[in-house]
C-alpha cells in the first residue's frame, strides 16, 4: 500500500496533467500561447464545488458540468480574442485569467470571495484521479492522431499555408481553445474534490504560468512530454521540500536549465511509444528545424 503522502502527490500530478494536456493541445499542437488557463480551472472548480455542495448534484455530474462550463466560456472568449496573435494573445490571456479570478473574488454572495469555498466532499481519490487521467489521455491521443491533430499542427506551423490548404484556421484555433478549456475545467473540478476547499488565489497567474511551463519543457507538440513535465515539476517541489526556502530557487533554476540544456523540451516533439523506440534503435538522425518566430 502506498502512503497517503505519495498518494496525494500522485493525485495532484494526475489532476495537473489533465490541465497540462489541455494546454499542450493549445500551445504545443496549435501554437497558441496562453498565460491564463488557471482561469478555466477555476471555473471548473467552482462550478463543481457549488453544484455539489449547494445543489446536491452527484460529484461525477458536477465534475462534467465544471468541464462543460469552462468549455463554453472558452468558446465565448475564444471567438473574439483568438484573432490576436502571438504575445498579444498571451498578454490578453493573462487579463482574461485574472478577470475570472477577480470576479470570483468580488462575487462574494455566490463564491464567498477570498475567504474561500469550503465543504466540498473529498471525491477525488486515487482511483478517480487515475481513471480520469487515463480517460482524458486516451481521448486526447486519439484526437491528435489523425485529421484534427494534423489540422492543429498546420495552423501552428504556418497559418497562411494552412488556410491555403483549405483549413478554416480560426475555426481550428477556437476549437483548440474550447477543448483545452474543457480539460482545464475537469482538472479544476477534480482539484476541488481533492482539496475540499477552494480559494481564488489558487488560480492565480503563477498557476497559469506553471501550466504553460510544464508543456514547454515537456516538449511542444508532445503529449507525453507534457505529462513528464508535470511530473518533473511536481517532483522537484516535493523532493526539495526539506530545504523549503531554497525550493522555489531550485524550481526556477530547473525551468531555466531545462530550456538551456534542451530548448526543444524533454521529449522534443516525440511521444513515448513504439515510434520513439524505433527511432532510438535505428539511430536515425534527429535534427531540429527552426520554426518561425513566436
Amino acid at each position: 500500500m502506498i502512503s497517503g503522502y505519495i498518494e496525494g502527490i500522485i493525485i495532484l500530478i494526475c489532476v495537473n496533467s489533465i490541465a497540462a494536456m489541455g494546454v499542450s493541445l493549445l500551445t504545443g499542437f496549435t501554437g497558441i500561447f496562453t498565460l491564463g488557463h488557471a482561469g478555466y480551472m477555476a471555473i471548473g472548480a467552482y462550478t463543481a464545488a457549488i453544484l455539489s455542495v449547494r445543489h446536491d448534484v452527484p460529484w461525477f455530474a458536477a465534475v462534467i458540468a465544471g468541464g462543460i462550463l469552462a468549455m463554453v466560456l472558452a468558446y465565448l472568449i475564444g471567438v473574439p480574442t483568438l484573432k490576436l496573435m502571438g504575445d498579444y494573445f498571451a498578454i490578453a490571456s493573462i487579463g482574461l485569467g485574472e478577470t475570472i479570478r477577480l470576479i470570483l473574488e468580488n462575487w462574494q454572495s455566490f463564491t464567498r470571495g477570498a475567504r474561500g469555498f469550503p465543504g466540498v466532499t473529498n471525491f477525488t481519490t486515487l482511483p478517480v484521479a487515475a481513471a480520469f487521467f487515463l480517460g482524458m489521455l486516451i481521448l486526447m491521443r486519439f484526437l491528435i492522431n489523425g485529421n484534427y491533430g494534423r489540422a492543429f499542427k498546420a495552423c501552428r506551423d504556418d497559418y497562411i499555408a494552412a488556410s491555403l490548404l483549405g483549413f478554416n484556421t480560426s475555426h481550428y484555433r477556437v476549437l483548440s481553445l474550447t477543448i483545452s478549456g474543457f480539460y482545464c475545467g475537469i482538472a479544476g473540478a477534480l482539484l476541488a474534490g481533492f482539496l475540499t476547499y477552494l480559494q481564488p488565489v489558487m488560480f492565480d497567474m503563477n498557476k497559469s504560468t506553471e501550466l504553460t511551463a510544464v508543456v514547454v519543457f515537456g516538449g511542444l507538440g508532445s503529449l507525453s512530454g507534457s505529462i513528464i513535465g508535470t511530473a518533473v515539476i511536481g517532483m522537484v517541489t516535493e523532493v526539495f521540500r526539506p530545504i523549503s526556502q531554497y525550493r522555489m530557487l531550485i524550481y526556477g533554476a530547473t525551468m531555466v536549465l531545462i530550456m538551456v540544456v534542451r530548448p526543444e523540451g524533454i521529449m522534443g516533439q516525440y511521444e513515448i511509444g513504439p515510434k520513439l523506440f524505433r527511432s532510438i534503435f535505428s539511430r536515425k538522425p534527429r535534427n531540429e528545424v527552426d520554426g518561425a518566430h513566436g
Binding site: T27, F33, P80, T81, K83, L84, M85, D87, Y88, A90, I91, A92, I94, G95, L96, E98, T99, L102, I103, E105, N106, I160, L164, M205, T209, T212, A213, V216, F217, L220, Q245, Y246, M248, L249, Y251, G252, A253, T254, M255, V256, L257, M259, V260, P263, E264, E288, D290, G291, A292, H293, G294
Partner: protein
C-alpha cells in the same frame, strides 16, 4: 471637478512609473521578440543594490544609483548570456526564451528571499517627495513630475538612437532576423548585450523609483505585469507606444478606482486591454506588416 483633476494627476503619476518599466520591456521585445518576464527581476536587483549602497555610503543617491544602474545592467547582460543566448543560438522559437525568462524571474526573486529575506524595506526619501500643488486644486509631488520627466528623457533618447543611428537600424534588422543581421557584419551578440544592458539600466531606474515611492521586497517585480499590459496596449516593440500605453493605463486605473469601482479596477484594465487589441490587434502604435505570400 477637483476630484477629477486629482484623479487625472494620480493617473499620470502612476502611468509614468509604468512607463519607466514598459520602455525597457518593449526595448527587449523589439529585438528578441519575446516578453522578458525577468525584467521585473532586474528592477528588484537595481532596487536592492541602491538600498544597500545607500546604507553603506550614507545617503548619496548619485553613487547608489550609478551602482544600481551598473549592477542591474550587468545582471541583465549575464542573464542574457547565461540563459537566453544558448537558447536563441539553437532555435528561434521565442516561446522557449519566454519560459526561461519566467524561470529566471523566479530565480532572481528567490535569491533575494533566501539571502536578504522577504521583508519589506523602504529606501530613504532620496528622491524629493515635496508636495506640489497644482493651481491649488490638486496635489502631486516633485517625485511624480521627476518620474514622468525621466520616462520622457529615456524615451526620447532611445527613440533618437533607434531611428537615426546605424546601430539602431541594426537593432531593428536583428529583431527580424538575427542570422542575416550577422551576415551584414553586425556583431549580434554584442548588440544584444548592449540592448540588455540598457534595458537593465532602465529597469534599475524603475526599481529605484518604485522602491522610493512604494517599498522594496523580492516580489516587487510583480508590478511589471501591469507595465507589460501597458506596453501591449501601446503596441509591442514600440517605445512611444509603451509610454502612451502606460499613461493610458495609469489614467484608466485611477479613474476606474475613483469613479466606477475600486474592486473592478483590474477588470476594467484588462477589459480595456482586450478591447484595444480587438480594435487594433497590434496595439495603438504597433506596426502590422501583412505578410506577403
Amino acid at each position: 471637478m477637483e476630484t477629477l483633476l486629482q484623479q487625472v494627476i494620480n493617473g499620470f503619476s502612476l502611468g509614468s512609473v509604468y512607463a519607466l518599466i514598459a520602455v525597457g520591456y518593449s526595448l527587449v521585445y523589439s529585438i528578441l521578440l519575446f516578453s522578458n518576464f525577468a525584467h521585473g527581476g532586474f528592477l528588484v536587483i537595481g532596487g536592492y543594490i541602491c538600498y544597500y549602497t545607500l546604507a553603506a555610503v550614507g545617503n548619496n543617491i548619485w553613487v547608489a544609483s550609478l551602482l544600481a544602474f551598473l549592477g542591474a545592467g550587468v545582471s541583465a547582460v549575464l542573464v542574457e548570456r547565461g540563459a537566453y543566448k544558448p537558447i536563441r543560438e539553437r532555435t528561434n522559437v521565442t516561446l522557449y526564451l519566454l519560459i526561461a525568462s519566467m524561470g529566471m524571474s523566479i530565480v532572481i526573486e528567490n535569491i533575494f528571499v533566501v539571502t536578504v529575506g522577504g521583508r519589506f524595506r523602504a529606501l530613504p526619501p532620496v528622491i524629493p517627495m515635496t508636495p506640489v500643488s497644482v493651481f491649488g486644486l490638486a496635489t502631486t509631488s516633485a517625485f511624480d513630475i521627476l518620474s514622468l520627466v525621466m520616462a520622457m528623457i529615456f524615451l526620447a533618447g532611445l527613440q533618437v538612437f533607434l531611428s537615426t543611428t546605424k546601430w539602431g537600424l541594426a537593432i531593428r534588422a536583428a529583431s527580424y532576423d538575427l542570422k542575416t543581421a550577422g551576415l551584414m557584419g553586425v556583431n549580434v551578440n554584442k548588440l544584444i548585450s548592449i540592448v540588455f544592458f540598457v534595458a537593465g539600466l532602465l529597469a534599475a531606474v524603475g526599481g529605484i523609483f518604485l522602491s522610493v515611492r512604494y517599498t522594496l521586497y523580492p516580489q516587487l517585480g510583480l508590478i511589471t505585469i501591469k507595465a507589460f499590459v501597458a506596453a501591449v496596449i501601446g503596441g509591442l516593440g514600440s517605445l512611444p507606444g509603451a509610454v502612451v500605453g502606460s499613461l493610458i493605463l495609469g489614467l484608466a486605473e485611477m479613474l476606474t478606482a475613483g469613479f466606477i469601482s475600486s474592486q473592478m479596477r483590474d477588470i476594467v484594465v484588462f477589459g480595456m486591454l482586450v478591447l484595444t487589441l480587438l480594435w487594433r490587434p497590434t496595439g495603438l502604435f504597433g506596426k502590422h506588416i501583412s505578410e506577403k505570400v
